[in-house]
């Protein structure tokens, strides 16, 4: 008994934007699924099982939407699962789909993640009054800002680091036709001068609210080989893991969460990674507020403790740096919450398949996809490569 190898043979995404008023929820997910199936040169009937993921159902006002979407995703007569692990859900959905293949239960699985935040009111749903707790802040930024301040205090990082990350990701997004934000006039000063929302997080350092979907077709080794033989290079899964921690507890490190470190360690062990900065060619990492880039550089072992911000300042994570982070523009440029984790996983796979177009990192052969959610407590990550493990 060994795990079956998993290949990524098809990837699709919608054009993410604030409001997709041209499609229903079903239309949104089908757009991504169509593209993934076309990329894989498959039809709905080739798919054996569907795993769908999204964030809280209050975002669209539909309870358990997999029931409504069964028809739209060609699921009649098939097994369908719906995963929900908060913001990391896009990643964990992909891992659940992968495990169906690793276990030898199915050979071809379609996995889809989406959010149509314009249908309901995402800000409201994110700060739904929690019983017996008076609301203090609006939006997720209010929760994360104090932890960013704590990172700045611990590391001594200068104030402008967050600006550099936001600028980088938004400029990268200009090369990604699927990205939500295409800010052609963005500059260092325009980011720095944008309004402070929850000090130290500025408006331009904050992720948008997007409608969007992402879909991936996963197959077993035979499927990956067939795709390769037909001239469509697959991405091979090298490792994957999930970790969870409680929201708060005495001594909890919210800046450098143990869950993130351990999840990464598990993935790296599976993938034979001992030096992530040297061995990965590119990383797609869940950075919804710009300061999370230096924080995650440390948490994921790309930089020593307290030094993540120096990689940003040195330009190491730029597209022409030694370890590009988020050439797609990242969560800072598109954030359909339930899909964002899968977009990171998919963009990592696109890089090693050489299909990232204008935001392709030349010669990328190993990539990290990362997602996190909740109060920095849910983590899901995978490593993919151009070579079969």
């Amino acid at each position: 008994m060994g795990k079956e190898r998993v290949a990524v043979v098809g990837i699709g995404q919608t054009k993410h934007q604030a409001t997709r008023g041209d499609v229903s929820i079903a239309g949104l997910v089908r757009e991504a699924a169509h593209e993934a199936l076309a990329d894989a040169e498959m039809d709905w009937s080739d798919i054996e099982a569907v795993v769908i993921g999204k964030a809280p159902d209050f975002f669209e006002g539909v309870m358990m939407p997999e029931l409504y979407l069964a028809d739209a995703l060609g699921c009649v007569g098939k097994p369908m699962l719906r995963v929900h692990t908060a913001g990391s859900v896009g990643g964990s959905t992909t891992l659940v789909a992968a495990s169906l293949i690793q276990a030898g239960i199915h050979g071809r699985v379609l996995t889809v993640a989406f959010e149509k935040q314009s249908e309901s009111e995402a800000m409201w749903a994110l700060t739904l009054p929690i019983p017996f707790q008076p609301p203090l802040v609006a939006g997720a930024g209010g929760y994360f800002a104090p932890h960013i301040r704590a990172y700045m205090r611990r590391s001594g990082a200068p104030d402008h680091i967050g600006v550099l990350v936001a600028l980088k990701d938004r400029l990268n997004a200009l090369k990604n036709p699927k990205a939500h934000l295409h800010e052609h006039d963005i500059t260092f000063d325009s980011v720095r001068e944008s309004m402070m929302l929850w000090d130290p997080i500025r408006y331009s350092e904050t992720c948008p609210s997007s409608d969007g979907a992402c879909a991936v077709v996963l197959t077993d080794e035979a499927g990956g080989d067939a795709s390769d033989y037909a001239g469509r290079r697959p991405a091979w899964m090298l490792g994957g893991a999930m970790r969870s921690e409680p929201t708060t507890f005495p001594g909890r490190d919210q800046v450098d969460p143990v869950g993130g470190r351990e999840c990464a360690a598990d993935v790296y062990a599976q993938a034979g990674i001992t030096d992530p900065r040297a061995q990965f060619d590119v990383a797609e990492v869940y950075v919804p507020f710009s300061w999370y880039e230096p924080m995650w550089l440390e948490n994921l072992g790309f930089a020593d403790e307290g030094k993540g911000w120096t990689l940003v300042e040195d330009g190491a994570t730029q597209m022409d740096g030694d370890i590009p982070w988020n050439p797609s523009g990242g969560v800072l440029s598109s954030n359909p919450i339930g899909a964002s984790g899968m977009i990171r996983f998919a963009e990592a796979a696109m890089q090693v398949r050489g299909q990232a177009g204008e935001h392709q990192i030349d010669g990328a052969r190993r990539a990290l996809g990362h997602a996190y959610g909740g109060g920095s407590q849910f983590f899901s990550m995978w490593a993919v490569g151009a070579d079969k493990p």
Binding site: A38, D43, G61, F132, L136, P146, R153, W198, F249
Partner: protein
């Protein structure tokens, strides 16, 4: 795979297509605080901040939820905490949420009461927002006695006590 352009029957061709609908939904819920939260909130209604100690790790949880998140065991031992403590971290808020009466900007902070191993979220007032710093010692400002209720709004906000700031090492692990 995807169909061609939609062809409508003759009588429908001149009509404006429906592009969206508004479907308001209202659901009412009656929440149960639970035993741990009820004890805590009743304490608040008598101007006491009560934490709960874990029998395994000995730490004091705040706000208490009836279990230790690390050990997963029930916590029932009540520990009365001071209504003064340290600001471990904070942010300055510039965006209102609907229904809020707060004037902008305002500061939201994590306050670690003396004796607790976890902090409470609260507002900081009675000090210009740009003078607030980590390590600042603060005390709770309660509502008037006749306005006390079993909810955290009974603590209006926290204000500086004027004592010297706590040294970083003393609250480092909460940062």
């Amino acid at each position: 795979m995807s169909g061609g352009p939609l062809v409508l029957p003759e009588p429908l061709r001149d009509l404006e297509p429906v592009r969206s609908i508004r479907a308001p939904a209202r659901l009412e819920y009656t929440f149960t605080a639970g035993e741990a939260t009820s004890r805590f909130l009743r304490g608040i209604a008598s101007k006491r901040i009560l934490g709960e100690r874990c029998p395994v790790c000995g730490k004091v949880m705040l706000p208490p939820r009836g279990s230790c998140p690390t050990d997963g065991v029930p916590t029932s031992e009540q520990v009365e905490l001071a209504d003064r403590g340290i600001v471990t971290t904070f942010c300055v808020v510039n965006v209102k949420f609907s229904g809020s009466a707060m004037e902008l900007p305002y500061v939201c902070a994590s306050v670690l009461p003396d004796g607790a191993d976890m902090g409470l979220f609260g507002l900081i007032q009675e000090i210009p927002f740009d003078q607030i710093r980590m390590g600042m010692r603060v005390e709770a400002v309660w509502v008037d006695d006749d306005e006390l209720q079993p909810n955290l709004a009974s603590i209006k906000w926290w204000r500086p006590t004027g004592e010297p700031d706590a040294p970083y090492e003393s609250y480092r692990e909460h940062v």
